[in-house]
Symmetry: C2
Subunit: 345 residues, 2 copies
DNA sequence: ATGAAAGCGCTAACAC
DNA sequence: GTGTTAGCGCTTTCAT
């Protein structure tokens, strides 16, 4: 692997390194003849500057780093697309790292990106980090004012910028929708409580019931243990008598599983059972009937987060003042809750 | 943003830069007292070396770059997971860039990663690149022997290493499965022909029919135009008389849409219509009934590709000899084609 | 019009 | 045991 460098080019052409450098930047200092000779050579050998050297020199890489738990999640992929849109318009490129929901990987990738690889980092917390509640690896960066913006899951106690949705309100509205469709025996399929977004959606569920003077039946609140088969856990809801007539699931996967189990037991959707999910993704559009869901506007979340980050990068005031931005949520009503679905309500 | 550097530490402690460097590496040359003083200071100020400087110095970054069209695709996310597994076991980190299926982004990200950011790059071709057939941006890297391995979609005319599946054979087997389920009026939902993987799956479809002495009804071959609504295009198949009794779709999305359209027209699945998809992903597991699909083993593809790349990186022979590895495919038989589904056939 | 030199942050061979 | 130096690839100021 012998890539041409300024040095190798200079040597080959019998000029100095700085002459080559200037020629490549079309500096008027260089005579047309020399410049042409150099450009010609560079074209021939496909010279491209080493990005590490550029980064070292300029203390600027033009890269934005993103850390997500994993790819393959529709919501995060929308966020990333939003980030890319804004970043690219501003002349930045985006590099993505996966935390696999592990704190160690999260920390190491942040170290990598923040120690020179990127000008700023956008990230959402790994589940493990959230569970352990140990956010120390972020402190040095926050203190130094390194450009850092969280989205979706973030350390609430720390003075950081974040772009989030109002999960409680969204959960309340989803539940309210089921109530408005005339459902009364509502069940909730949620995550373990340490996942704060799931927990807040649950709070919204409770609030909606309270607001409507309805009791919360704790037997109809299911907290999924992700290490065990999901279907078996959800099936429990259908064994109750009477079974629920409305289900709010805090993500689209749980909702889809519930929907399909309902088919198996022969329940009519949405007449006998209405199901609403969260996070309008790829699954929701491919079930039968299609799933009503809360829409998280991942694309806008990404855009907003990127804008916040770019402002931090370019302002360079230290420390950047923490800002929390809340992105609206919406509701898509499809066949799983309504016989007369409207795409956006 | 004032991050500590060896220089700033050395100055603060009144020692030289190399003393600090050595102390941090626990060099026996440094006296315990000095070492402790330095380590203490570094701990306090959370010193971490600049990765750009390290990269420049060592000409090795410990990073593997991956370029994929986009995230959010289950198959690619499995490939990436496989890559990470192998990479991390070998002490490498993985950084991902999106081409958005555009040649320009593909080229620029490759430039970035190959010019210092990574020790090697794994990638799958952007649709645009495949469509235009212009692979010139890969040539310099191939010539220089920069470690580069393709997976899934790759430039077949170029002397490169790639990990792929036998799409023709997989398509043949999927079709064969429909035939074995007693279906005879088979339809195919495919992609535009420039997507070679889709085209090869089509060849397999034709081969299976030929092998069984059955004619190919060109009216039942649908090539999707992704710019138009998918549902409308697929609905056409159901307007034929008689309608197909078996559908092979070259991806899971098309298969799911076909399945749900069949529900709408009241067809019984799989008795009146069997549907099989390709690429066993998140959608296939959440339809009703669940989709039979060809399994692509993305995880293994990622592992294999990473192994090939690591070998190139570490061998460092120039040029690396091109290798094509073929990953087996499988078939998962679920409810969409069989009343007695077996998970793995 | 061209080149030398310093420096970005780090390492390692070589003094002392 | 500690420091000096050269150099990774590049830019930029300051000579010449």
């Amino acid at each position: 692997m012998k890539k041409p460098t300024l040095k190798s080019i200079a040597k080959a052409l019998g000029v100095s390194v700085s002459t080559v450098s200037k020629a490549l930047k079309n500096s008027p200092e260089i005579s047309p003849r020399t410049r042409e000779r150099i450009l010609e050579y560079c074209r021939l050998h496909q010279y491209e500057p080493n990005r590490m050297a550029l980064g070292l020199r300029h203390r600027r890489t033009g890269i934005i780093g993103v850390i997500v738990p994993q790819t393959g999640h529709y919501f995060f992929s929308r966020v990333i697309t939003g980030i890319q849109k804004v970043a690219e318009a501003a002349g930045y490129r985006v590099l993505i790292a996966h935390s696999n929901n592990e704190s160690r990987a999260e920390r190491e990738h942040l170290q990598l990106l923040a120690n020179g690889y990127a000008d700023g980092v956008l990230l959402t917390l790994a589940k493990e980090t959230l569970q352990k509640g140990d956010f120390r690896h972020f402190l040095p960066w926050i203190q130094r004012g390194f450009p850092l913006v969280f989205f979706d899951r973030y350390p609430e106690k720390l003075p950081v910028s974040a772009v989030i949705i109002d999960d409680t309100e969204a959960g309340r509205r989803a539940t309210e929708h089921l109530l408005r469709m005339g459902k009364r025996r509502l069940a909730l399929i949620s995550t373990p409580v340490y996942l704060s977004v799931g927990y807040r959606r649950e709070l919204g569920f409770r609030k909606a019931l309270n607001d409507n003077g309805l009791p919360v039946d704790e037997n109809r609140i299911l907290r999924i243990d992700e290490r065990r088969p999901l279907g078996e856990q959800i099936r429990g809801l259908f064994r109750q008598t009477p079974p629920p007539d409305g289900i709010f699931a805090v993500n689209e996967q749980y909702a889809a599983i519930a929907l399909n189990l309902a088919h198996e037991t022969g329940m009519k959707i949405p007449a006998e059972l209405a199901v609403i999910g969260f996070s309008d993704g790829i699954i929701a559009r491919h079930t039968y009937p299609r799933l009503s869901t809360v829409v998280q506007h991942g694309f806008r979340m990404g855009q907003t987060a990127a804008e916040l980050l770019l402002a931090q990068i370019e302002a360079d005031e230290l420390p950047p003042k923490p800002q929390i931005k809340i992105i609206d949520t919406g509701l898509v009503v499809r066949g799983s809750t309504s016989a007369y679905p409207v795409e956006r309500l």
